[in-house]
């Protein structure tokens, strides 16, 4: 299998892709306003490429040629420029994907704690569901709750395969995912970080720091068994 595009020739019937002339592309008003607001933030309008593409992705679900043409029309740059930028970044999708994204961190710290098996289980669990885009992701910066996943931008962890059904139910129902496992609720591990003066966060219980964290308890043998399911 080769990456998309490698084997693709240009379609000589198409016109060259220049900057779309105003009026050539219909842009939803909200999107246009958002992109223009981003452009105002920078001395050079091209700087708004990332936020603008992200906005278009929210609108269209992915950076489709149509979405890119819309951004190009507002930003007055060529669509090729935007496509080039979009294809560089992991979070900008250049192929159609499900509307819900589940990024499972499979980098080293999460891997050491069983993320690869978690990912495989995730993929099995959403097999055939076009709405949920489960993909492996490089380090998401939450090694303290490894293995973890970013579900529509919300970090949850530590996760085990048993959590997957509940998590997916939450995603599909549009609820907050596994509230008790969300990173937002977690205290830092450093026991000295919190002196005395303020009341404890109710959700965290009395314990400080790492103490409230559940380490994966399974021993290596069961871990291996789980990882080699077939």
């Amino acid at each position: 299998m080769s990456p998309l595009g490698w084997d693709t020739a240009a379609d000589l019937e198409k016109p060259p892709a220049e900057i779309p002339s105003p009026g050539e592309v219909d842009v939803p008003e909200g999107l246009r306003a958002e992109i223009e607001a981003h452009m105002a933030n920078y001395p050079d309008r091209r700087s708004a490429a990332l936020p603008a593409l992200a906005a278009a992705q929210r609108e269209h679900g992915w950076c489709s040629p149509q979405a890119i043409a819309q951004v190009a029309a507002v930003m007055r740059v060529t669509p090729a420029y935007l496509e080039s930028v979009a294809s560089f970044y992991d979070m900008l999708e250049t192929e159609p994907v499900g509307r819900h994204s589940v990024y499972v961190c499979t980098n080293i710290s999460c891997s050491l704690r069983g993320a690869d098996a978690l990912l495989a289980d995730f993929q099995r669990a959403v097999d055939g569901d076009p709405e949920v885009n489960v993909r492996a992701f490089e380090c998401l910066g939450a090694c303290d709750i490894a293995p973890m996943a970013s579900v529509d931008g919300v970090y949850v962890g530590p996760l085990s395969s048993q959590d997957i059904p509940a998590l997916l139910d939450d995603v599909r129902a549009g609820r907050a995912v596994l509230p008790e496992r969300q990173l937002a609720r977690r205290l830092v591990a450093d026991p000295h970080a919190n002196s005395t003066e303020f009341p404890q966060h109710p959700a965290q219980g009395a314990a400080h720091g790492g103490a409230n964290l559940e380490l994966p308890t399974e021993d290596p043998a069961t871990a291996r068994g789980r990882r080699e399911p077939r």
Binding site: S2, P3, L4, W6, N41, Y42, P43, D44, R45, R46, S47, A48, L50, L53, A54, V85, F88, Y89, D90, M91, L92, T106, N107, I108, S109, L112, D116, A117, L119, A120, R135, F137, E138, C139, G141, A142, C143, D144, I145, A146, G153, L183, V188, A189, P191, H192, A193, S195, E197, F198, P199, G210, A211, L213, L215, P220, A223, R224, E228, R230
Partner: protein, 474 residues
């Protein structure tokens, strides 16, 4: 708890978990923005002098003295930029996330003070796109700060003005490299630029640019509060102050800890983080994120500071300690590391683009039993060919740890290779495993950890017709 003995003075993590610390009200109640007032009362040169006196070294990875960096900016009236590097994506690192999420005002205050010292009037926080919660917290804090006049025109009547924008990335490790970050901020692909010219002379939009890590900038208010010289008394001579370390991997209490630089590494790994799970030992550990060469259990008694670790052949980097226990095959660690850098290589320069790709292929061949001991030599030489020959440090970031693993665990890798060859020969892994175990060949090979290839392969399209899944048993 053993950690209690090493109680360091809290600068960044003081009451970090206090509810509402992210709001201006609580932050100010705790003395927030006092340093800003104090700094604005001083001349920019005095602020800079304080920063230089503090000996604060950059917390992002390179460890360059922050005061010196500010002083490199050309003087005079021109558009200067201050960019806060919040693209924290070094595997194992998650300290900036904590700061931005829980104490965003501290960062804003640090940025405003630093911009005052540097004479910068435009500032950007480049935060990685995955940090949605943290970016939202920063946006909210920024709105509050603007309202209170800490950011904007003529801050607190000092005449200093600053526009500050939170710029969200979209998922690319290379944007943590300062010049890659600048290109990304300019709306391009995040390709690193050739240096020189250095960003201090020609950075964002060709203007002089100061780029600092979140933790570095967040430390600035503390330095102003306590005075540069007082700050320099913390830590050891060439590594002053406190440092946030992120400990992860095979430890019992992973998380962020604030330490005084120079304490023994063992204190961190065993004392604070609780060490590896019961019954296991430390096989190796990355002292500064996945791009630092690995150290072994013997090195655990080294003091944790910039110079000592450099002398030991590794680096403090971003202060992210990843512990790997002795039940994990080193090949899997190498494979994870190499695959990560292959995925994140921007593709601009040849040694990194091709070298990372080739290294992964060689590792896969080793694991598939298609390699010979000469391949280890080739792999080591490929790492040497990458180191120092790349445009930026990403190539080195793979080649150094992989090189160190080959050097330090050569025997294990050769044994792994040999076993894989035997397995390949007999065709049935499970059966041959027990057969081999009977021969004693599998001693110390629990093969626990990760399916380092197979499902974990996330490079979009392994188009090369990879040797296939090699974990047998299909």
């Amino acid at each position: 708890m053993a950690a209690a003995d090493t109680a360091a003075p809290m600068l960044l993590f003081t009451d970090i978990d206090e509810p509402g610390l992210a709001t201006r009200e609580v932050y100010e109640r705790r003395g927030g923005y006092e340093s800003l007032r104090r700094a604005l009362a001083m001349s920019p040169e005095d602020v800079l002098a304080q920063l230089e006196a503090s000996g604060l070294r950059g917390r992002g990875g390179a460890g360059f003295a922050m005061g010196k960096k500010v002083s490199f900016l050309p003087k005079g009236a021109m558009d200067k930029y201050l960019v806060c590097n919040a693209d924290e994506s070094e595997p194992g690192t998650f300290k900036d996330r904590e700061l931005m999420q829980k104490s965003p005002h501290m960062l804003v205050e640090g940025i405003v003070i630093a911009s005052y010292a540097a004479g910068a009037t435009r500032s950007f926080i480049y935060i990685r796109g995955e940090y949605v919660l943290q970016a939202d917290a920063l946006d909210a804090a920024l709105a509050e700060a603007r309202e209170a006049g800490y950011v904007g025109d003529d801050i607190l009547g000092s005449g200093h003005s600053l526009t500050l924008v939170v710029h969200r990335g979209a998922g690319a490790y290379i944007c943590g490299e300062e010049t890659g970050l600048l290109d990304s901020l300019e709306g391009k692909r995040g390709n690193p630029r050739l240096k020189p010219p250095f960003p201090a002379n020609q950075g964002l939009y060709q203007g002089p640019t100061l780029i600092n890590n979140v933790e570095t900038l967040a430390t600035v208010p503390a330095i102003i509060r306590m005075g540069g010289e007082e700050y320099a008394k913390l830590g050891v001579e060439t590594s002053t102050g406190t440092k946030l370390v992120s400990v992860s991997g095979h430890v019992q209490r992973p998380g962020n800890y604030e330490i005084e630089l120079g304490i023994p590494s063992r204190e961190i790994v065993y004392g604070l983080a609780g060490g590896p799970p019961e019954g296991r030992g430390v096989k190796c550990w990355f002292p500064g994120g996945s791009s630092s060469p690995v150290l072994t259990a013997d090195d655990l008694d080294l003091p944790y500071d910039f110079d000592t670790l450099a002398k030991a052949g590794s680096m403090l980097g971003s202060g992210a300690i990843i512990v790997v226990d002795d039940a994990t095959p080193i090949l899997d660690v190498a494979m994870k590391t190499a695959k990560f850098y292959r995925h994140e290589s921007c593709g601009k320069c040849t040694p990194c683009r091709e070298g990372t790709n080739w290294t992964v292929k060689m590792l896969e061949r080793i694991d598939a039993g298609e390699a010979t001991p000469m391949d280890l030599e080739i792999m080591a030489s490929v790492q040497e060919h990458i180191i120092g020959n790349c445009l930026c440090v990403l190539g080195d970031a793979m080649a150094m740890p992989i090189g160190s693993m080959i050097a330090k665990f050569k025997d294990e890798l050769e044994a792994h290779m040999e076993r894989a060859r035997l397995r390949r020969g007999s065709g049935d892994r499970i059966a041959s495993d027990s057969a081999l175990a009977a021969q004693g060949a599998l001693a110390n090979d629990p093969r626990t950890m990760l399916g380092a290839t197979g499902a974990g392969d996330q490079a979009p399209g392994a188009h090369e017709g990879a040797p296939g899944t090699h974990r047998g048993g299909a």
